[in-house]
Assembly symmetry: D2
Homo-oligomer: 452 residues x 4
């Protein structure tokens, strides 16, 4: 029997359905065997996972790597190092860079940048705009892993297309079999309310919530589902933030709409009450972290499957960008790719969910939704050896200083941790170890997605 | 016992719940007593309704009287004469006249025109526009019976406001307690598709349906309901045309949204198959009469209460305006106010519905929805003596030449009738008799609506 | 114009939909005219209802008159006197008398007794038993107004038929078009639990609740609905007592089952907490008044129409029969026919419901469900002049001593009243005035029900 | 690296979610490794699965082995040989033997019989009776894998307990965490209708359907769910036969009832129309194969998860027992354990379902429902090596003569096959090969179930 590259021994393998003690053999980047201790081939390298849980690497389908265009906030190097340390082995990068990823050329350029720096695997979003509908297919052929629709945008770089263009885009993407991720807010509503609030001289943090009322999200979720139903497109609702959307999501799924939904840790762990601790202006994110009362229903929906998966909307900024006096000048969003898994493991330790449920929402569900299963998101023969070793006994605290993002202004400063990833492998290579990124730049590769 | 103005004797009084043989006494325009034959006071005039059914006058909340601005299509005289002959005692006039009814001045002007010509009672719609939100309350005080929102407009006279303005308008109207009628189509979708079809050189009738796809209606119905739910506004969906909206209507009602819905005879009796008979271009109406398969579900929804009421979207045009070569040049819509009741009575004769169900959908439901009940829409003491006498044995045929609208281009030419109104009274005065309008111009008065 | 027997002047007529100031003319027991003051014919008698509300007489479809067999608890004289004072103009009498009303002969005998004593109108229930299925049609022809099924019985006089007989009975009654009232509890469950509790030596009040667990009612409601759905029978669920049944009622109605439901004041106003005040053993009733937490959902269901109507399950006993040491020896049930309307009027005064809603649940709904509408349950021309005049300003207190039932052991002793019936007319004759029964024995007549 | 007992090479491993080419290593009866070809340890035996699909052994939770008491119909030897050839590696045996499995002694005796004969693994049902409630826990400790409730029985050996006993049993089993399988028909309804039909002299096959109307099943399914909801018991609905139950199953699952459901091939492939081919009397089974129109909705429900799993209700009889003149004398039921997989594989070949869906309904779902997952029902490290090799290209026909049951009166005679199991392993030992049973008697062992 020829030897293999690597065997991980004595770990507890966790899947959504079960936990089993087994070794994993890896060769040429893939899992080639799973077996009881002693049954696997000799290996050139052995990792002893005694006392550790072994899960598939997390997949974060909502990451703003920021490059090209905003390298002072984050680079492919810094973002993927943060991901690796955070137990994330695949990131999907959003197209609101400069230039936006709205053409084959922009996509090629981003592939080049990512390819030289990334230490984890990645997918690149193409942008859906009013004027690039005729390029969507070419971008798909050039390797766009998914497409992003900014339905709900105040950013002139990535304006919201008119509904006619959205439906036309959905028709194209339905034919291509590619899922579209939607920032679902109602742009005209945001615009009108923003102008009204600015005209009234409002510059305070509460004005941000008054602009981005739940209604803007609820309506856009419903509209997205209706457009998807009509066109047959597969859609994914980004960063679900409000309990008021949940009945509409359930109604859409009951109608058979191919709709998946994500939420993010900041909606599960924070509310406007955290403004006192963090500064109200610092809290700015789109859609907003809302008043208390939403996190509970969002948790319930995540655990019952109404919300399919966990992402982070990783959106790094400098602290100085997030703490300006005028709310409209405060950069929206937080880093998240490094803190999501540890935040959830602490909840596993408290019994709020099982590790199997975490694997479902963070690994298997995104892999299935975005056409990567069973190549990613699962520990099985033939899958990429994207593997995270977890020490459920390890404790610690989140600190901004300890994060690997350039824009490390985390809202989770000081959160107590119980359960941490201690080793992250991407296609068999260790890219993070004991909290330090160790993967070689350029190890990350673009994912291949199945289109159906 | 003093005598009264009028007693209608020996008729069969029909309500949604029951039918009873009784006389009706009328004095000073109101029903003052209902009693068994012989129990009512002496009257200066007696109408013998032996063999006739007696119902409340129909209320048509969707009528385009066209004046001011388009008197060559219809005038308040011609429209209300048609209404009277058709058994309609109250019409609600749409604001897409020239000028549009978008200000107190325009409302006053239309009140003056209507007041001098109308032979039936009327309510005037105020227009909701992006730039007149600050005048809605004044228009309400000046007597606007309801407000109309063109969500779904290609007409520069009555453009669709942005969603921010719509929500702001709903907030105002929720506070005022006034129901808003919505032309629910998605304007950006209409615009995009219209431009695409024109750019492709399409001028045929099918292009109209391709532009106004069901999706445009379905989405706008859902959005209207969500905005209504959020603001607490009462809304009314105009001219429901597609079975695909029905699940969304049911979902909204189940959520407790104060939503009422109308459909019109052309959606209940016609399909694109009628293009052969009438000319495909002639068939143009917004939203379109669709392919076969919608009328059945719409009938079911009307009878089970999902759709609350019957209106006509009476939209008279000259035949020459409706039969141009290029579909985009064909005037959309049909006259309806004179033919709705007779079309439905023929169905009563065939057993498709009961006369009580007709009274519910055509009289009581609109009166309740628009704050006129129990002043209108019901035969009871204290109600306006808006009364229609029906001869269920009378037969005939619809002919354009026999209609009283100027724009008499009816799609129901030749339809066989069984059951016809033979006398229409508005506040006790006979305004139509045996198919002839006889009411004095200016007898019609604006309705008073209760706001809650 | 000939004069009429009676005119009631200046009252406020209340219907579910509206309130109107009008006079009512009555002749030969029927309402012959409703009109504005001054429009009605001269009358031999005039009742001035100035300041009073005028409603249709209440219809109580669940009354145990007790005669023949248990005249020491109640007679047709005492029960109908109580009803008249309580504003109830029609009672439906239950068949668990001795002999039970299980044959044409028993029905005839009860008709004779009732006919000589009653001062309000009445319907007689026939009993559905395992062995009288071949007599149901004859009993219907002999005037049974409805039929009663004891699904849930420990009384050997009226045993629960096996399910096969129940379905056979439903098939017969579906054909006859008669609604069946069901005491919906699961008899085998009651029997098993009763024997178990007795075997354990339990004699305390709590044992009664442990025997009659909610489950016994919930299951039987569901089973009744399924049998009704399969056979096409119209069924009526007696004395709904538990919130746990409500989802099953809603599911049945959504499926289109012709199911109506009643609840009773003791379920709306009491809970086991009242045992301290009244004595736990005194509280015994089947099904039981349950722990706190049910009344709220039952009120909600009554106001949203899930529960259609209010009845009383008037079940008079002597106080000595209700207060024995051993719970199994305590007679179950309370008098109710005299106190139901005043209890609800006090809630009208507090704003918990409108008088129109009361008219719906106590007058119109039972008349419709049991085929008496529009002859009863409504104030309209042609209806029986079953009329109650209410003084909403009158206050008082319920006392057992003030009740007219022989078995006057009321659980509502001391309840404060605000709003009271001051005059009750049955077919035009005053049968109660200012709290005193004045109707002549034998004035009451059996009702005629429409079978469909 | 030490060698293992067995490696199965070059097969395509099928799970509900995916298919992967991999080898399986087996040692001491368990799967010890799954790996790419070449990665697994040396083995004392190798099975070449080139060109074959590899699935977990099917689990049939509804098998009547008949012994003790009816060995002329079937023995543990014959039944488990049939199972092995049919790809079934675990059978659950029903307790309606003679004596019934209603006590620890009877259970022990059956364990002894099974243990000496069986060639596949097995679970034994304990019987729930009115008089053995105090022995349920002891039977569970003695190894009863599940319990069977005959709610719907005409068999004096296994009478239906009264509802009070059923609820008491559910309370016990909820505490023990054991799922109860329910023959859900309404016994009193069966009894009543049976007596009525017999009294009418009916002896024809149609009388069987008239006795066992759908209603009897629908009602019992609903009642079972309500009892389960109240007690917290886990229940399993046996042999779902009618589309009319499906709304009730969906309602129960939506309420959160822990309800699982099976259907059987005869309900999916047959209707009363097959009586012509097979003889109407031969068709007798409880509940009946019904008129055409049920199979379609049952297939839909099986594929959408409303029905969780496939079983067979394997009920072997001699042909002479099934073909008597009087329908009441005809033995009800068919053999099924050997034909279920091949019938479904033929449908896989036709595209009606995927092989993954079959693995879900026949392997994984029963293992999960009855507490055997992940020891059985799945191909993973640590699982029992219950493995079936399938040749999807192999064709053939079902013939009674070719079956291994003693009572081989199959209704599927002549059915064309496409896809057949060619090798069945139980805990690593081949028990059937190329259609011949080869396992040694006594190889089968009782399963261990997890109770939660
Ligand atoms: Zn976003
Ligand atoms: Zn984002
Ligand atoms: Zn319109
Ligand atoms: Zn219109
Ligand atoms: Zn009762
Ligand atoms: Zn009772
Ligand atoms: Zn069975
Ligand atoms: Zn069976």
């Amino acid at each position: 029997m020829p030897s293999v590259d690597l065997v991980i021994t004595n770990g507890l393998l966790v899947s959504p359905e079960t936990t089993v003690a087994a070794d994993i053999a890896v060769d040429q980047g893939r899992i080639v065997a799973i077996g009881a201790p002693g049954t696997l081939p000799p290996a050139r390298e052995t990792i002893d996972a005694t006392g550790l849980h072994v899960i598939p690497g997390a997949i974060d389908v909502h990451v703003h790597v920021r490059e090209p265009g905003f390298s002072h906030k984050e680079t492919w190097t810094s973002a993927t190092r943060a991901a690796a340390v955070g137990g994330v082995t695949t990131v999907f990068d959003m197209p609101n860079t400069n230039p936006p990823t709205a053409s084959v050329a922009a996509l090629d350029r981003k592939h080049a940048i990512a390819g030289s720096q990334a230490i984890v695997d990645y997918g690149l979003y193409g942008l859906i705009g009013e004027h690039n509908l005729d390029q969507l297919e070419a971008m798909a052929q050039a390797g766009a892993a998914s497409f992003k629709l900014y339905m709900g945008s105040e950013n002139p770089l990535v304006p919201c297309p008119p509904d006619g263009a959205i439906v036309a885009a959905f028709e194209i993407l339905a034919r291509l079999g590619i899922r579209t991720t939607v920032h679902a807010e109602n742009t005209p509503l945001l615009t009108w309310r923003g102008e009204t609030l600015r005209a009234a001289g409002r510059t305070d943090a509460a004005a941000h919530l008054e602009q981005h009322i739940d209604l803007a999200a609820v309506e856009a979720v419903s509209r997205t589902a209706i457009f998807a139903e009509w066109t047959g497109a597969k859609v994914h609702i980004a960063h679900e933030s409000t309990r008021h959307s949940l009945p509409h999501i359930r109604f859409a799924k009951a109608r058979g709409v191919d709709l998946t939904v994500e939420t993010c840790p900041h909606y599960l762990f924070l509310s406007t009450d955290d403004g006192g601790r963090l500064g109200d202006n610092f809290m700015r994110v789109k859609p907003p972290v809302r008043e208390p009362g939403h996190a509970g229903p969002l948790w319930d929906a995540l655990l019952d499957g109404t919300i399919d998966m966990l992402s982070t909307d990783h959106a790094p900024h400098l602290m100085s960008e997030k703490t300006r006096d005028v709310i409209w000048d405060c950069a929206p969003g937080f880093p998240g790719v490094e803190t999501s898994m540890v935040l959830m493991l602490a909840q596993v330790s408290r019994g709020r969910l099982t590790l199997g449920q975490y694997v479902r929402m963070a690994c298997e569900a995104p892999a299935e939704a975005f056409g990567m299963f069973p190549r990613k998101g699962v520990l099985m023969v033939g899958a990429d050896a994207d593997i995270v070793l977890i020490d459920m006994s390890k404790t610690g605290r989140i600190t901004a200083a300890g994060l690997h993002s350039i824009g490390n202004a985390t809202p989770f400063e000081g959160f107590a941790l119980h359960g941490m990833p201690v080793r992250t492998l991407v296609r068999g290579k260790t890219v993070a170890l004991d909290g330090r990124p160790v993967g070689p730049p350029g190890w990350g590769r673009p994912v291949t997605v199945r289109r159906t």
